[in-house]
């Protein structure tokens, strides 16, 4: 376990390094004049002009060399200082903290919903491979997997919000605002995790130890609870780690669609506006969040699977 966590720590360092260097090089390589881009982000398309760009250039010292600025960023990072957004003038750490909260809220709700939808259905299907539930689920999950998130999100909006009017279409602030974006992400996650659960369950059901459990005299429910559940949850939880990539990518699209003031939304805007500190800050936090989540998955697996405790 220490070793796994050590590896995650190493990954976290890699993330910081990559994000720092990559975003920096990339943002520097972005086309057009940075001062103009920042001015456009800051003052809007009606007010961006050469005067504004020049003022930005002077204020932010954009003439400074790239290496110096990169070095400064890392030095600041060591001191937990992510700098100040060149667009809004707010400290990046405050902006990110604020947005991260919303994203975490959304992601958590999505994961919870997906866990309530995907694995139970998958397990039901896996208990009887080839049965009606299995085939039905395969159909639904194949369909969901072949539709981009935003299409799913739009369908949900059109059906549940504008059609039936039981949920708000977009926005943020009320608890029910959370449901549609979270459901959009959750359906995507569940489409896959249900298959993982189904395959895992089918594997467990056909395993010698499952059969042994039966011939030992345990009832079907007892065999499932004692020998099925834990064995099937290990791959499901492990797969969650893989799904976080999907989740983090998903928030970028879903947040834009549902006007959710999260970190993915902020990142897209920062890229448009060339807000280097915000890009670095959000990318760093997203990368670190990904590592952290994977560390949590490791921890969960460690708790669920006694094999890892003895290894």
């Amino acid at each position: 376990m220490t070793r796994t966590l050590g590896y995650r720590l190493f990954q976290a360092l890699l993330v910081a390094l990559t994000v720092g260097v990559l975003t920096f090089i990339m943002v520097r390589a972005l086309p057009g004049d940075m001062a103009y881009r920042i001015a456009a982000g800051r003052y809007g398309y009606d007010m961006v002009n050469t005067d504004a760009a020049n003022a930005v250039r002077t204020e932010l010292g954009l003439d400074r060399g790239g290496a110096a600025a990169l070095g400064q960023w890392f030095w600041d990072l060591v001191r937990f200082d992510l700098g100040v957004s060149v667009v809004s003038g707010e400290p990046v750490i405050d902006e990110v903290r604020h947005q991260l909260g919303h994203t975490v809220e959304l992601a958590l709700a999505a994961v919870l919903m997906s866990l309530l939808i995907g694995p139970p259905l998958g397990i039901l299907a896996g208990l009887r491979p080839g049965g009606a539930i299995d085939r039905g689920l395969l159909l639904v999950s194949s369909t969901l997997r072949a539709l981009p998130h935003f299409v799913v999100g739009l369908l949900l909006i059109i059906v549940l919000a504008t059609g039936m009017g039981i949920l708000p279409a977009a926005g943020h602030g009320e608890p029910q605002n959370l449901i549609l974006p979270a459901l959009t992400l959750a359906l995507g996650l569940a489409a896959v995790s249900s298959r993982v659960a189904r395959d895992a369950m089918a594997g467990v059901v056909s395993s010698p130890y499952y059969a042994f459990g039966r011939t030992k005299g345990l009832s079907e429910a007892q065999v499932f609870l004692r020998h099925g559940l834990r064995n099937v949850s290990v791959p499901i939880v492990t797969y969650l780690g893989v799904q976080f990539i999907y989740l983090i990518e998903g928030v970028v699209v879903v947040e834009t669609l549902f006007a959710w003031p999260g970190i993915g939304h902020a990142l897209v805007h920062a890229i448009f506006a060339r807000d280097v500190p915000v890009i670095q800050g959000t990318a760093l936090v997203m990368g670190l969040m990904f590592v952290l989540l994977n560390a949590l998955v490791d921890l969960a697996c460690y708790l669920i699977d006694p094999r890892r405790q003895t290894a």
Partner: protein, 276 residues
């Protein structure tokens, strides 16, 4: 004999299910590819040619799929968008597969420092969610598919690398390879007869899945307006553009959605059940 027969019959059943799925997948894909590449030959309409009189007109004999919001031929646009998505996906998969497989074999074969270094490279690429990378690359070169292409390839190569490395590592220490070496065969033979036959079906699976991912990513990026720019026909972009007209002209909006759906579905079917 009997137990073996039973086991193999059930595995044949399993295989058959996969191959039926694959067959359907290949069929759908073949139709889509034919549609994409034959349409310009039999229906040579410029996909950017507008006729403002025909805005959002429905299907007719003269225009089987109707017109979009600028009176452009949906048929021509769909075919062009498909060519773009398919071409881009194919190229990305190819560029990801070649170095991915080669580096995977290299890492497993050489072991030691080379393996360590390449694995760290893979970890670095994995540590950053792929879309982030693609997003920033597309911001560098808006309106040009190469950024999408490079970004997607950069994300996809790792899967090939990891799978090839894992497969090669097991194979390279297997008795079969040891035997071949003892029998005097060199590395080229081992790659050709031992590794390639094992890796190639995997490449198909990962490739089909990767192509599906690429098509989804291109569409998603089009949706957040950082992908290909108008007036280039692109499936995600077409959806975004036609979305406001969902009530006026649902047929127009549905077309790119159905096409993406079929395309990704066919690729997922080809990839088989293991790929997610």
């Amino acid at each position: 004999m009997t137990t073996i027969a039973v086991n193999s019959s059930s595995s044949v059943l399993e295989q058959k299910r996969i191959s039926v799925g694959r067959f359907i997948g290949f069929t759908i894909l073949a139709f889509i590819v034919l549609f994409a590449f034959l349409t310009p030959l039999v229906w040579p309409v410029d996909p950017t040619k507008q006729s403002l009189r025909n805005v959002l007109a429905g299907p007719s004999w003269s225009e089987p799929l109707g017109y979009d919001h600028l009176g452009r031929s949906m048929l021509a646009r769909l075919a062009a968008a498909l060519r773009l998505s398919l071409g881009l996906a194919f190229l990305s998969v190819l560029t990801a597969a070649v170095p991915g497989v080669l580096l995977g074999i290299l890492a497993a074969w050489k072991g030691g420092i080379v393996d360590r270094a390449l694995s760290i490279l893979g970890d670095v690429s994995l540590a950053l969610p792929g879309l982030l990378l693609v997003l920033m690359l597309t911001a560098i070169a808006p309106d040009s598919p190469w950024a999408l292409y490079v970004g997607i390839s950069l994300v996809l190569w790792i899967e090939y690398f990891r799978l090839t490395r894992a497969t090669t590592r097991t194979l390279i220490t297997s008795p079969a390879v040891q035997a071949s070496r003892l029998l005097g065969f060199g590395p080229a033979y081992i790659v050709r007869r031992h590794l390639w036959p094992e890796i190639s079906p995997m490449i198909l699976t990962v490739g089909a899945f990767g192509a599906a991912t690429a098509i989804m990513a291109i569409a998603a990026l089009g949706f957040v307006s950082v992908g290909v720019r108008p007036p280039t026909p692109e499936l995600g972009l077409m959806m975004t553009e036609l979305l406001p007209y969902y009530e006026e002209a649902p047929h127009a909006l549905l077309q790119p959605i159905v096409v993406v759906f079929l395309l990704v579905l066919s690729l997922n079917l080809i990839a088989g059940r293991k790929a997610r």
